[in-house]
Amino acid sequence: MTMRLPPFDLVTPTTLQEAAGLISDPTASIVGGGTDLFPKMKRRQTTPVTLVSLAEIDALKGIRIDDEGRCVIGAGVTLAELADSPLVPAVVASAADAIASPQIRNTATVGGNLCLDTRCNYIDMPELWREASGHCLKDGGDTCWVAPRSDHCWAISSTDLAPVAIALGGSLRLVAADGERIIDVDDFFQNDGIDYHTKSPGEIVVELLLPAFTGRATYLKHRRRGSIDFPLLGVAAAATFDDAARCTGIRLVVGAVASAPLRAIAAEEFLIGREFTDDVIEEATRLASNPVRPQDNTDTGSRYRKWMTPVFITRALQEIASDDTTNQEEEP
């Protein structure tokens, strides 16, 4: 069958208050760039009656450094703008540049990226296919086809910005009709493919706040085609070191292997106070990759993604261990 958008009403508020009021309607949905939402609507995974566009809200635009030296990124900033911005940490710009394709980056927003729905090759399929396979847990059925004995959904968190934002200790400002709050990006996500974030439907992500950061950071993304694909795996690492090259603080985050970005807490704790020698990196890699259990629900099988996890963790740690932190996508 064709992939046409189902009919919907589009409203384009110009203020946050107006938008917050509009999305308190449960049949409404926020749309940023629509690069995640529209394909899902075409596949009839969701059919909102009203779309509330954030495109005309000035409060969501722009990137600035605030009085506390934080980098404040509006949720409406496009990934192309982010990738080009001299104001954001280089690791953020390069992660943004490795998302999807140029056309998509011109439209896709930061807010949409952080709220990106979890993905799975049993759900992100055309309607006919889902009917033929039997609707899965996330699709209104009662079985997760990835792990049929499991009681929850294993769809993958595929946002490339989230692991980086977590590694940098970022937080989000959320606004709802009845007030606003700030939440650590780390706490924004939860490891459940259906309820993958803790935001209530009436909350709008307004900005991403990144504290001033002077350490070394990297994000290594693995995907089949460097031109367009979602991550098979993403490893973000941000660390500070003392004069003796000992680690004074680190956040190590593995993306696209679970329904939320995974902090490698055990590895982080192990690394604090240590110099990143080969042995130390090896042990940290073991600690960080052991708990990672990718499923067979995206490109390439779970076995390969399991194999790749230590490879990319090691490479990320090696990169921040050296002075030369060119943040890059792993290209062949």
Partner: protein, 792 residues
């Protein structure tokens, strides 16, 4: 390449339709919106294998805006592209055989109504056991996909021996047996299939369709609609890519016509990308076993090749595909004794068919990979073993293929030298490698798809009194540039410019038959037919002008818009005057030409597949880098040389070569039409990974001109052959880079890492199939080599 004595041939001209296409004026099938057109939609099966117990269309038909609803019962006559495989229904009747098979269809006033109507059609299925893999197809306890009861789902077998392979193996100093698997893949043409049908009040049906084969669609429509062919007109719209994917008659074409007949209004179908994955007809998955005997200097003494094709739900071109897996081994290398055994099974998946290279890339991958292994065993380099066995011009193969022009050695020399292969092979740092492979392809299948003695291509030429030339040909431009090719051939012959001609193509009412754009036949066959028609016109012009000038015909030339005395451009008359003189002298200036391939088939069943009036040759070197830890392959550069006979338009020829390289790279590194049980693993272009421009390396193309004695101006094919060597060249380069063998296509990163891990643990470092089923191919047909055949 010099243009030689030619004025048009050999020039790098843009396509005659380039401006139309680049300014968006070309009308593809989906651009056609006749007034009052209805939107057609197909309801597709959600079961891989099931009996249809009932279909209730009452509610759908009652929906306001729905003009007609039809099911399999409305089009009960079977069809199929090959006369031996009439096993398809336009809409499934009684049984569905794969997920996505069309079951019912509606015509409605708009897309929303049509889609709502589909949801109101109630189909009851009784699921049957699925048959999805080769092993399942051979399981006698599984149900038959075609027919009742249980049994092996074998569609076709072939077993042929030429010469004496036992003797050949006995004479060999070294014998290798290897097993390979080539995963299936699909065409992924940019344009999805689309068709518009209308029916006049008098009952004449017209179908505009993105098809490569209007003539075969014409025949299928007459059969299934059960009306005389004379009341049907098929117009092939310019195809936004075909690659073999639009070479069968398709359900939506037949259904569009039927719905137009019922409603009296035009009906349009435009398949979605998902639908195209279900329509498929792409590359067969093939499991292969190949045993080859070598003398110590690398000379091949015998080859025994077995192929197992997973055909999907229908016959389609499968019988031909099966024979093609075994047909062109001998036209690439001199094999004195050759045995081919093959079989094709039915499975509950979309039907496979022809894709660029039709049945031969799979075998090419196996044989070229094995040659590198044999060369290593024997301590010879990959170039030497190929040169030693390369087929020679004007020779006959053991399976009776007639080889004419052949510049295989020149192709090898070109790429080996340009790439610095000898300095690189085995000598680059770990992770970097080069690979070489060869290929050979037909310039048109020697026989038509259905038996007949009529020409395979006809062209008509009409010159009006103002001098305008109109060329009428059934040839279908699928993006390969066949219309430009015809214009080039005619313009060269008549001393005109291609852009001056009016081209009328691919319309069964207006143009004479060309069998279609498949098997790389159009340049050779339609080109020769056009040349014959143009030569007749030229002769009449020259005779008329000679009479006026009182000169000898031999002394006249037709060039630069004039007909005059050779070497004296000022002499004679203008083109238009010449046309007036000829028309006055001998009547309407209308001529026709045709092409029929010479009789080439050897004296055995199956000899019709593989014969061709000429073969193209290619050689390819790939240089790449592999990340040993991640298995990610970065193809750095590709050098490819292609024996094209004569490059009628080098610009367009290079485009075809580059397209073939690109497609081959996609097949070897990314693409697989893969299934989980009966379900496609990802019927979208996000999940089915084709390379983008960023994944495409620099390609160095060399066109080698062997000047074929029978090709139009010496030309041979270029549309398919250049794909063939690319796939094994990559496989061989990966081995050169890392020392592991991935005997399975596509070569994805996970397979490379698995092989590296295996090698690190002391294993063989090979990933690939373990063996082939123990299968009885039936009685072996023994064929004597052709008379005078001398073993090399």
């Amino acid at each position: 390449m010099s243009a030689g004595n030619h004025t048009v041939v050999g020039r790098r001209l843009p396509r005659v339709d380039a401006l139309q296409q680049t300014t968006g004026q070309t009308q593809f099938a989906d651009d056609l919106n006749p007034p009052g057109a209805l939107v057609g939609r197909q309801l597709r099966s959600t079961h891989a294998h099931a009996a249809i117990t009932s279909i209730d269309t009452v509610e759908a038909a009652a929906l306001p805006g729905v003009k007609a609803v039809i099911t399999g019962a409305d089009l009960p006559i079977t069809y199929g592209i090959l006369p031996v495989s009439q096993d398809e229904h336009a809409l499934a009747l009684h049984r569905v055989r794969h997920v996505g098979e069309p079951v019912a269809a509606v015509a409605a006033i708009d897309a929303e109504t049509a889609e709502r109507a589909l949801a109101l059609i109630h189909v009851k299925y009784e699921p049957l056991t699925e048959v999805v893999t080769l092993d399942q197809a051979l399981d006698p306890d599984r149900p038959l996909i075609h027919g009742e009861g249980d049994g092996q789902n074998v569609h076709r077998t072939a077993a042929l021996e030429f010469g004496d392979v036992a003797e050949g193996f006995a004479a060999a100093g070294h014998v290798r047996e290897d097993v390979y698997f080539f995963g299936g893949n699909t065409h992924a043409a940019l344009e999805t299939h689309a068709a518009v049908a209308s029916c006049s009040p008098e009952g004449k049906v017209t179908l505009w369709s993105a098809t490569q084969v209007p003539h075969y669609v014409h025949r299928a429509l007459a059969k299934v609609l059960d009306i005389p062919a004379g009341r049907i007109r098929v117009i092939a719209t310019p195809n936004g890519g075909g690659f073999g994917g639009k070479t069968d008659p398709f359900s939506h074409e037949l259904v569009a016509a039927k719905l137009a007949m019922i409603t009296g209004r035009p009906v349009k179908f435009n398949l979605s990308r998902e639908d195209v994955f279900y329509a498929h007809r792409g590359r067969h998955p093939v499991l292969m076993w190949v045993k080859t005997g070598f003398e110590s200097d690398g000379r091949i003494t015998a080859m025994h090749f077995k192929s197992f094709l997973d055909g999907g739900a229908f016959g389609s071109y499968g019988t031909a595909s099966l024979y093609y897996t075994g047909a062109l081994q001998t036209s690439t290398y001199r094999i004195p004794n050759y045995c081919f055994e093959g079989m094709r099974v039915f499975t509950n998946k979309p039907a496979c068919g022809p894709k660029r290279g039709h049945g031969t890339p799979q075998a090419r991958f196996a044989i070229e990979s094995q040659l590198d292994k044999a060369a290593a065993d024997l301590g010879i380099d990959p170039v030497a073993i190929r040169v030693r066995n390369a087929v020679e011009p004007f020779s006959t193969t053991v399976n009776h293929l007639r080889i004419t022009s052949c510049a295989l050695n020149e192709c090898i020399d070109a790429v080996v030298e340009q790439s610095g292969f000898h300095q690189k092979h085995g000598q680059l740092p770990e992770g970097r490698g080069v690979g070489l492979a060869l290929g050979c392809y037909m310039s048109g299948a020697g026989l038509p798809i259905y038996f007949n003695k009529m020409p395979q291509s006809e062209v008509q030429l009409k010159v009006d009194r103002g001098g305008g030339v109109t060329v009428y040909s059934g040839a279908t431009d699928i993006g390969q540039g066949s219309t430009s090719m015809l214009a080039t051939v005619v313009a060269e012959c008549l001393g005109l410019e291609p852009a001056e001609l009016t081209m009328i193509t691919a319309d069964t009412d207006l143009t004479p038959v060309d069998l279609g754009s498949y098997s790389s036949r159009v340049t050779f066959m339609a080109g020769n037919a056009a040349l014959e028609a143009a030569t007749k016109v030229r002769t009449r012009l020259v005779e008329a002008v000679a009479a006026k000038l009182e000169a000898a015909v031999e002394d006249l030339e037709v060039a630069n818009g004039r007909v005059g005395v050779l070497g004296d451009p000022e002499s004679g008359v203008s083109w238009t005057e010449a046309v007036v003189l000829a028309t006055a002298a001998t009547g309407p200036l209308v001529e026709s030409g045709s092409y029929t391939a010479p009789k080439l088939a050897g004296p055995y069943k199956g000899a019709g597949v593989g014969i061709s009036p000429a073969y193209s040759y290619s050689a390819c070197v790939v240089e790449l880098e592999v990340d040993a830890d991640t298995g990610m392959v970065d193809v750095d550069r590709v050098w490819i040389a292609h024996d094209i006979g004569k490059a009628l338009n080098p610009l367009l020829c290079e485009g075809q070569v580059e397209g073939g390289v690109y497609m081959g790279l996609g097949e070897v590194l990314f693409e697989e039409q893969a299934f989980r049980d009966g379900l496609h693993r990802g019927p979208s272009l996000l999940d089915y990974k084709i390379p983008t421009s960023l994944e495409t390396p620099t390609v160095h193309t060399t066109l080698i001109e062997s000047d074929d004695p029978e090709g139009p101006y010496g030309a041979k094919e270029v549309g398919q052959g250049p794909l063939l060597p690319v796939i094994p060249a990559v496989a061989n380069a990966i081995h050169d880079a890392l020392g592991v063998h991935i005997d399975e296509v596509p070569i994805t990163p996970d397979k490379i890492v698995a092989a590296m891990r295996d090698a690190a643990r002391g294993g063989s470092g090979r990933v690939g199939p373990k063996g082939v089923p123990d299968f009885d191919f039936g009685e072996l047909i023994r064929v004597e080599p052709p008379e005078g055949f001398v073993a090399p």
